[in-house]
């Protein structure tokens, strides 16, 4: 897929998924601090 164009929908959902994972990490880092 790296050479293929991501569909707009897939790109949007992957972006949201990544943001979710980032939010979780920040929240767990804050809890640990």
């Amino acid at each position: 897929m790296e050479n293929q164009e991501l569909t707009q929908e897939t790109e949007r959902l992957l972006f949201c998924l990544l943001q979710s994972l980032i939010r979780e990490r920040i929240s767990s880092d804050n809890k640990g601090a």
Binding site: M1, L17, L18, L21, R25
Partner: protein
């Protein structure tokens, strides 16, 4: 990426992808639910998606066909630590995703019930979807009825007592039954738990240390916190270990725990525990064991004592009896140890004495002492204040005819509290809604457990419950009118002004009823099951046309109405069961005394 169900005749194996993106406890609960399903539908081929740090144990389950781990650090670290833009990471994520989206799955299951699971659900194509997902506006949606229940009830901590493992099992079994027919009967009575659930291999130092002493009975203690973050102090654990070793020369104790519990070692050195350690009767495996060793140690144990939720679920899976310590009882009903014969000891300030005697009487000597004897033993062994502050529950898998699933029974059969009563009613509603069947109220409530405090609460809610039944009946009528009107209007291109006004008026009536229900449920917690479910059901209405939405809304109000009448039935039947029953003449002897 939702599709219609694949016809049965096209299927060889049933390809199922299961996402569990939460913690290790959730993974263990998921595995237990999947094992039950796999026994009934051996044709399912399971791909398990979880975070990379939990993937190794899942790979040790022989009937999981494929494990796809989410490399969270690989995706997140470049953004957080190196300032790489999110957009640049999407290519790597797309490569990771590719094998999951190449061919549509027969069934996609999100058992994380969280954001990560919902986005994966939206990304991965499947004929049938269960769990949370996302709509085209990015809104969180529930792909099926049980997921609505999870969102509306379980995640808002409204009291209910159906175990999460039972919810998951029922959810997937229902989908399989609807799409692929009934299960293979010959596997219905097989146990789900087994010591060889994971293919583990232990050799070397630990194996030699423990295997040399297999003539001993081992008690395993796992230091750690419950799901709510509650834990017992290390000094309490040390005292408990000492008590067990002193009073039971035929027993050894294995203490397990993560690295954060390494200070337990300090409590051992310089005390009598160090002698037990030197003799091999006390084995400290804190912060040093692999997953395989953890399984090996638990399998050696005759029982586990812990408040650590992952340890408790692992013991459940391996068929090792667990004594689970916790400060409160509610979550145990939902996430407690699964299986027969586990014990949950609840109390805010559990003493070493209470835990020791509960282990001794409820686990070690259980075969010799039934509930009544156990209570007597505990009364002798505990101080009055200790006995007054604890509650002991025993787990039991109910026969399907009694409602099925795991239940936690109060061994003292203390009077049922209003909270517990609400819990039972809410679970009954779920069974009526999603299973189409629920056991009789009489089967769930014993007369001896109903006391004046419960009846006082029920007297206060009786009128509001009756009012809500009327309100919901009216809503069903209004929603039905709205559906009829929408059906008529769908035939013509343009809706007349008169019809438009009527649609608006009916819609307004339903909104007003929703507000009334909200207000009433803020005063009476028993009604929260309806107001919360209403909110989630209305959010999940789908359809482009007014007619589709009206029909879905009618279905939702019918369901709410059924729920209201279940509450009414419970109120009425609780009063009926509590009522002293006249003794029939036949029960008196000739001398007028009772015939026993």
């Amino acid at each position: 990426m939702e599709m219609s169900a694949k016809p049965q005749e096209e299927c060889g194996s049933i390809r199922v992808v299961v996402v569990q993106s939460r913690d290790f406890s959730s993974i263990l609960r998921t595995l237990m639910a999947l094992k039950a399903v796999k026994q009934l539908y051996p044709k399912i081929e399971i791909t398990f998606v979880c975070r990379d740090r939990f993937s190794e144990p899942v790979r040790k389950v022989s009937w999981i066909d494929n494990v796809k781990s989410i490399p969270v650090d690989q995706f997140v670290d470049p953004v957080i630590k190196e300032g790489v833009t999110e957009k640049k990471m999407l290519g790597a994520m797309a490569i990771w995703l590719r094998p999951l989206i190449e061919n549509p799955w027969d069934i996609f299951v999100d058992w994380s019930f969280d954001e990560v699971g919902s986005y994966l659900s939206a990304l991965i194509p499947a004929y049938v979807k269960l769990g949370f997902s996302r709509n085209s506006n990015n809104g969180l949606i529930c792909a099926d009825d049980w997921s609505q229940y999870i969102q509306a009830i379980v995640q808002t901590e409204i009291n209910q007592d159906i175990h999460i493992t039972d919810i998951m099992t029922t959810q997937l079994l229902t989908a399989l039954q609807v799409n692929y027919g009934p299960p293979a009967n010959e596997n219905q009575d097989k146990a789900v738990t087994e010591s060889e659930f994971f293919n583990v291999k232990v050799e070397g130092n630990l194996f030699n240390r423990l295997d040399r002493t297999t003539d001993k009975k081992w008690v395993v203690i796992h230091l750690g916190a419950s799901d709510e973050g509650w834990c017992w102090s290390n000094s309490n654990w040390a005292d408990l270990v000492e008590t067990v070793l002193h009073r039971h020369p035929d027993h050894g104790v294995i203490v397990l725990g993560g690295q954060s519990y390494e200070n337990f070692h300090a409590l051992v050195s310089g005390t009598s525990l160090s002698e037990f350690k030197a003799s091999g009767r006390l084995q400290l495996l804190i912060g040093e064991v692999t997953f395989d060793e953890w399984v090996f140690a638990l399998n050696l144990g005759s029982a586990l004592i812990s408040s650590d939720s992952a340890a408790i679920h692992l013991a459940s899976i391996l068929g090792v009896r667990a004594l689970c310590l916790n400060a409160t009882q509610e979550r145990n009903f939902v996430k407690g140890p699964y299986g027969n014969g586990h014990v949950v000891l609840v109390g805010e300030n559990l003493s070493v004495n209470s835990v020791y005697h509960t282990w001794k009487n409820a686990i070690l000597d259980w075969s010799r002492s039934e509930s009544a004897r156990l209570i007597e033993h505990l009364k002798d062994a505990l101080t009055e204040s200790e006995a007054a502050t604890i509650q002991i529950f025993k787990s039991r898998i109910r026969p399907v005819d009694d409602g099925g699933g795991v239940v936690f029974e109060d061994i003292e059969k203390k009077s049922i509290t209003y909270k517990e009563w609400i819990s039972k009613v809410n679970s009954h509603i779920a069974r009526v809604w999603f299973c189409g069947w629920a056991p009789n109220v009489e089967q769930e409530l014993e007369q001896s457990r109903i006391d004046f405090r419960l009846l006082k609460e029920l007297r206060e809610i009786k009128d509001p419950v009756y009012q809500v039944c009327e309100l919901m009946t009216k809503c069903v009528d209004v929603a039905s009118d709205l559906a009829t009107l929408s059906e008529i209007s769908s035939d013509s291109q343009v809706m007349s002004v008169e019809r438009k006004d009527k649609v608006q008026r009916l819609g307004g009536e339903l909104s007003k009823a929703d507000r009334v229900l909200d207000e009433m449920s803020s005063k009476f917690p028993i009604l929260r099951v309806l107001s919360q479910s209403s909110r989630v059901m209305m959010h999940n209405l789908h359809g482009d046309e007014l007619l589709d939405i009206s029909l879905e809304s009618l279905k939702a109000y019918k369901r709410l109405s059924d729920g209201a009448f279940v509450i009414k039935e419970w109120v009425d039947k609780t009063f009926y069961i509590a009522k002293p029953k006249p003794i029939s003449k036949r029960e008196f002897g000739k001398d007028g005394g009772l015939v026993r």
